[in-house]
Amino acid sequence: MPAMPCPIHRNPITAVESPAVGVTIEGLSKNFGSLQALKNVSFAVEPGEIFVLMGPSGSGKSVLLKHIVGLETASNGRVLIDGHDAAAEGTLEHVRIALVFQAGALFNSLSVYDNLALYPREHRLGTESEIREKVVRALQILSLETTANKFPSELSGGMKKRVAIARALVMEPQLMLYDEPTSELDPVMSATISEIIATLKDEYHVTTIVVSHDRELALGIADRIGILMGGELVFLGPPSELKESKDSRIADFFHPKIDLKNPRFKTLET
Amino acid sequence: MNTAQQTARVGLFFLLGLALTWVTWETLSDGKLFKQTGYTLIAGFENLKELKQGDEVRMAGVKIGSIEKTRLAGRRAEAVLRIDPGVKIASDATATIVMAGLIGTNYVGLDLGTPGAPSLVDGAELRTKITPDINTIMAEIGNLGQKLEGALNSITSSVSGDGKSPGLFQKIDLLVTQNSEKIGTTMSNLQDITTKLKDGEGTLGKLINDPKLHDELLATVAEIKSAAADAKVFVTDTQGIIAQVKAGKGTLGALLYDEESAASIKVTVKNLRDVSDKIARGEGTLGKLLNDDSLYLGVQSTLKKADRAIDGLGDSGPITAVGVAASVLF
């Protein structure tokens, strides 16, 4: 489907419309001791689009995501969300950002319902009955009505991810971040999650950044794709351009050939 | 567990804590704030010693209150006593600080005062008396120790000398050392005498060491006693004869009351003295007898003879007996 950036964001819960937010990353570098996790990365995510950040393990995708949400501070450069510095303290007051963690990061001591209700309760977004409405709506969107009174430990991996997404929705986010939403899931569940992400974007125009190395997901839902390798952005563009890319590293990443004659790992004999 | 139940438990738990704290507080501070009952009396002392707030006030050993506070008032220390309600204290009762233990437990003791004396009212002042505390007693004991030490020192110096004059022991020592030779002689003489006595040497020794002789002597004395009794009778008879003699009756009377006879008797007496002198010098048979070792043997044989004579006394009359006795003795 054609990716047309829509500047108007519609709240998935209250259906209130507001301008969608964009993310600008300017010369971002991050060092962990002697290790350079990010090397001068710059790109911009347009309001209302789905941006998929790809790359092999350890390429710095998750670190970049943490910078956007303010969990890490940059060694150099900065991240701007709707004009606010992500590292500054008040940014989360101005922009509602929801991060769906790889493992869900659900609060194990709280029931599914309480997990979802935590954010509006803590920020006093309405009375208990209003909060209840929001939570039930979010659960309906993700078909989780039956799990409301269960605890995270009773849920399967896919369910946990859906609860995590539902919890993010209750936050009525202007920016949704997904960290490996389809990892460790079977293909059917992966497809479901992909559909959810796409639907949220299509219906509510939530600006979305997905970190993944799932090729199907990326090609299926992305408006634009960025590829990080060794902390450097090696590709930035729509999925159609990716297929025409002549970069051997990208080709190798997307279409790894199994070569038993010349194995990539070092055998014991050599 | 639901939230309400949890809240209830936490609430109860907290209340329990509050209650226990209150109870502890009440107990340890004698509930001062809540039970300000009774009345106060003031007792001024020169020194409160170890007395402190919360200590007891006792009358005749019974607890009747406690020390509310202690303070300095001018040149003296004051203890404010809180007395239990209903306890009447005579105006002439005397307060003392009493030591209940050696390590600083004190209380204020009140005596009963005189019966019929008016009672003290709130805020009144008590009569007080100073009692020695442990420190004073200790100081006294210290003084006593010093005196004892002085006394002991003078005894020591008098006994063993103080460097200037010789002591008692030194004097005794000197005496013994200087006379040791004489004492030695005396001692050896004494030893000699006792040895001889022990071995039965000499008359005294024999007398002491021969049990047979002793027994015989005893028996003899008994016999003599009975003989003496008989002699009495003889003496009375003799008195009768003498009366006749005095009257010049008979031959004897003429003999005694005749002047010629008297002169010859005088010569006889002189002769007798000569004889006894000779005896004393050991001359003649009797002298030898008396002064010789062989007296013992003589005595023994004489006693044997006396024995026999006394045996025969039963039949013969008293005159015979006296005659025998006299013959034996002389």
């Binding site: 303010g70 950002i97 990061a105 | 804590g17 507080w25």
Partner: protein, 250 residues
């Protein structure tokens, strides 16, 4: 050198956490349910072990005192000894040590696992400061519950001493005499000092355990390491603080 840096870093992060928590003190009424839950965990569920330990601590104190004081005829002061040492020293320290072992370790384990499984990160992204939601209710709860635990511990300790004094043949002191001796040399100030100490120890233990739990990095293995570190740091802090607090309160 690295050790010293680590200690200073830990100290710094604890102080920082305390300041942050104090900044959110106003939100406490809204967090009433969380506060009650922590009170329940810190106070109510800790009571049985506090009771058992304090009882036996009091008993053994009386026993030892009876054994050693008999030699100079001071047996009648057992009550004073047990009472004073429990109120001023043992009560607060034992309760604080139990708190470190039972509650502190649980707090560290919970917060460390939340940190390791990114729950804390999730809270941060939700703009819910961990200091507000995780630390503040615990600190408030321990402030309220610690004196309660300490006074119960004190009374049970005294009672333990009384039981031993009465029933152990070599001591044989009637409870009346025991408690009379206890009251004789003790003021409420002694108990109050003890409660104050318990309050300080409890607060410090919870703060240390929260701080170490929240600064856990790495995998699940680190949870255990953090718990160990938190308990050790708590115990050391209790005993070091004990000296200075006792001196300050004298």
């Amino acid at each position: 050198m690295k050790q010293l840096t680590n200690i200073l870093e830990g100290f710094g992060s604890a102080v920082q956490l305390l300041v942050q928590s104090c900044r959110y003190a106003g939100t406490l009424p809204r967090q009433r349910a969380r506060f009650i839950e922590q009170c329940y965990l810190i106070g109510y569920t800790t009571l049985p072990i506090v009771a058992i330990l304090c009882f036996f601590m009091g008993s053994v104190l009386a026993l030892q005192a009876g054994y050693s004081m008999e030699n100079f005829g001071a047996k009648q002061f057992i009550g004073s000894l047990v009472g004073l040492s429990f109120a001023r020293e043992l009560g607060p320290v034992i309760v604080a040590i139990l708190l470190a072992g039972r509650v502190g370790s649980a707090i560290t384990a919970e917060l460390a696992s939340m940190k390791v499984y990114q729950e804390v990160d999730a809270l941060v992204t939700m703009n819910i400061p961990p200091a507000r939601m995780l630390v503040l209710p615990r600190l408030a709860a321990v402030l309220v519950m610690m004196p309660v635990l300490a006074i119960i511990g004190n009374l049970i300790g005294w009672f333990g001493g009384a039981v031993v004094s009465k029933y152990v043949q070599s001591i044989a002191i009637e409870p009346e005499a025991y408690f009379a001796a206890l009251r004789r040399y003790m003021k409420f100030k002694d108990v109050g000092t003890g409660l104050m100490k318990a309050e300080i120890f409890g607060f410090v233990v919870v703060l240390i355990c929260c701080s170490i739990g929240l600064s856990t990095r790495g995998g699940p293995r680190e949870i255990g390491a953090s718990v160990t570190r938190a308990v050790v740091a708590s115990l050391i802090s209790i005993l070091v603080l004990d000296y200075f607090v006792t001196k300050a309160l004298m």
